[in-house]
Symmetry: C2
């Protein structure tokens, strides 16, 4: 369907980032850029694209969505790609056994618009062509978005999944600046990632992971739990303080126990 | 996104036909079949596909949506492709100056579900890769469906347009049999096509089209007007009777005027 109005200049309104995890085919990256452009999205981020970036096949498949392809950013980890965001949804076709809320594209678009309308950063994670997102990637997300595909034919191309969600975003915002009252309380994903690292290091030092094979599973569950809490920056700082306090317990005197011997002065909090 | 459940057999529920007018690339036919299959549509009709049918490239691009590709039907005219339907929407990206109602995909899906739920046949017309639908094709439709694309980047692939509308159909029907009370009153498109032919022949005989260049435009406007009336089969029969009566006026006596001379007996009605 033709009909692009070349006299109209694209306006970069605040909108969700689209994050492709380890995409393999340039054609899919390009088709994703085109699908985003159709419904007004423009912030495309790639985590470890197989063939690097820039990618000629991607540019060719993007049908001149230059305002998207020229701004593509590449990251080495999902954590880095979502560091500045405070609401992230993972798109999946399969059910996961993680304890995450599952949303349809319409509800997801409503919540994204509310979050972005309050000034928050938001993004959508899309998985690999062959097997989608890993559980550890899904664990980083606030909720899962699933498309209502026919069970007998659920094979959905990445760009098509992006198109449906971008369409819902457009339907929700009508191509205008989303606006919602209130402020975003949620900590950024970078703050959460640092909290995870702090807790997991503390647990490693404490010998918590007695069966190394189970560590990834336990870590994912822990990250899922902590993500679900939707913590504010202040709450994340409090949790850092709690972990640090417990972690250093043996280094400082317990004020509730009578002193048995002189100990070094506690470090300032 | 993987995730097809191969144990689930596809169920051919009543749903809108997708009619592609003169598609050029097999890849687009295949991608359309795949997009339809994702959201439960299965009735794909092709009007004069450039490379004929079956088409190897289409099959390859359909990602094993065999339950769609194996049932594709080919027609020589749009009129023939929609003959059995009683509600047809034309999808366009550009504004037309025809007097047709313009719907979003969500409202279109609601109306399609109501119509099909009452037992009526319905379909969606999609145009050529390069320039979409011709005005005479749009004139045959009951309304126009336009996707809310970004004006600065409206270039939407056919399969993607199909995907968005199929998604809305799925959202509306939830993968179940649509049901609505009442019966479909609308005449089939075949009945309307015959009515158009009757009227236009009568007008040709009457020397109505004094400027031959303007005939297509006038015919399109006439068809648009008559389609908008949403006539029942009975009303179409009445209109045939009216045209026939006027057309044959000179062949029969006017009972309101005194006879001036003997005339041949009128043919039976």
């Amino acid at each position: 369907m033709a009909g692009t109005d070349k006299s109209r200049e694209f306006v970069y309104l605040p909108s969700p980032a689209v994050i492709l995890c380890e995409p393999q085919l340039g054609e899919n990256i390009g088709a994703t850029a085109r699908a985003m452009a159709n419904f007004g999205l423009w912030d495309l981020r790639l985590v470890n694209p197989r063939d690097g970036w820039p990618n000629e096949r991607a540019i060719a498949s993007a049908s001149r969505a230059d305002h998207v392809t020229s701004r593509v950013r590449v990251f080495e980890t999902v954590e880095a790609a979502i560091a500045d965001l405070s609401l992230v949804y993972a798109t999946t076709a399969r059910r996961r056994d993680l304890q995450k809320e599952v949303l349809g594209p319409d509800v997801a678009a409503q919540r994204l618009a509310t979050h972005i309308g309050k000034g928050g950063g938001a993004g959508l994670l899309f998985g690999r062509e062959r097997w989608g997102l890993n559980n550890e990637e899904v664990a980083l997300a606030d909720a899962v978005v699933t498309l209502p595909v026919e069970a007998a034919f659920a094979s959905l191309n990445i760009a098509q999944a992006v198109l449906v969600i971008a369409y819902e975003w457009r339907r929700e915002t009508n191509g205008e600046l989303p606006f919602a009252t209130g402020t975003v309380e949620a900590a950024s994903k970078d703050e959460l990632t640092q909290l995870f690292a702090h807790i997991e290091e503390a647990l490693d030092r404490a010998g918590f992971f007695t069966v190394p094979d189970k560590r990834p599973h336990v870590v994912n569950n822990l990250r899922t739990m902590l993500t679900r809490g939707n913590f504010s920056s202040q709450e994340v700082r409090t949790l850092h303080g709690i972990i640090a306090a417990i972690d250093r317990r043996h280094e400082r005197p317990n004020p509730n126990r009578p002193k048995r011997q002189p100990e070094p002065a506690p470090e300032g909090d």
